[in-house]
Symmetry: C6
Subunit: 77 residues, 6 copies
């Protein structure tokens, strides 16, 4: 049985950041499951500063969760 989210643990902070970006994208896919529509929207918001900043905010919120789940990768310090 596969899952897109087996764990919040990642080996490195960078992998945690990538996971946060993925967590942000999945909610958008759930609300708009049609990939063709999403492909239409992407070039629009990718050239819109407000949308880019708002996307970055969602990643920031998820990154806080992922970082806490990994105890801030304390062993890499």
């Amino acid at each position: 049985m596969t899952t897109w989210l087996p764990t919040l643990k990642t080996a490195t902070p960078e992998a945690g950041y990538d996971l946060a970006a993925k967590l942000a994208r999945v909610a958008i896919k759930m609300t708009q499951p049609d990939a063709a529509v999403r492909d239409t929207l992407r070039p629009v918001y990718a050239e819109d500063a407000d949308a880019l900043i708002a996307s970055s905010q969602v990643v920031a919120t998820h990154f806080a969760t992922v970082a806490a789940a990994n105890d801030y990768w304390s062993e890499t310090s």
Copy 2:
């Protein structure tokens, strides 16, 4: 006696994410209880990048809560 939210505990991170999405939807249903109106709104915001990103932000906030409630599913690491 039934409840739509018996617990914040979920078996897996993926199920926790689904619960976060549900938590985001319920507030919208409370404010707009008329399903017919919601059905009218959905296709509009599902094709609007700003609304999709804002929805994803709400899921992110709830996911932080659900993940903390599950101690970040620490035994699945």
Copy 3:
């Protein structure tokens, strides 16, 4: 002496969610104490996707607080 917020503790997660929704509404009442004006605004934002999503965000933020106050209802798991 009555209070609208005697405690953040609730018996169940669902009651905690209802409290979060109440906490979101009270700030709006404080800023706009005139119930007649609020009644005028409600049908407008209840049919506006952006406003519904923003409302859901406020509930999400309060729900995080209420859930933490209840230790995530850990005994109900």
Copy 4:
């Protein structure tokens, strides 16, 4: 020596909520110190659903802080 914020501790959750609302207002006063201008803005945003919801969001963020500072008023449970 007086201060507008001697402590984050409050006797009750309701007083904590009032403090959160005060914390939200102070930032606005700092950015717009002219009371006459603020008085002009208030009737506008008090009749604007988006502004009311955004204000409620700020209160929610501060309430999370105040509630944590008071250990969620655990002795009142």
Copy 5:
């Protein structure tokens, strides 16, 4: 060697709030380093309710961090 942010610790909650406001302003200076441009923008957003509320939100987020860094100034209670 000077720094604009030597510590997150402050003597009082009020000083912590001032630090939060400073933390909010610095990000804006980083993105718009030209003081002349910032001086042009300030009177505009200082008379715009939405911008004032959004600014207050940023202060709220930083205040949560500063308050946690100071253990909510627990000895002042």
Copy 6:
């Protein structure tokens, strides 16, 4: 093997703030990988108060994470 995010630990609060600003920028680069497009957007949002405030909000969210990862730089107090 290089990484743009080897650790969340920083020597000082100021370096932590810079890291938060970097974390905010990276998400924008991921969504809009074309540097030429980003260069076109930057002067626009750098003169837009709403975009500047929204950017500052993203930095604030990341700063909360970085500060927690560094235990609020408690030894610098």
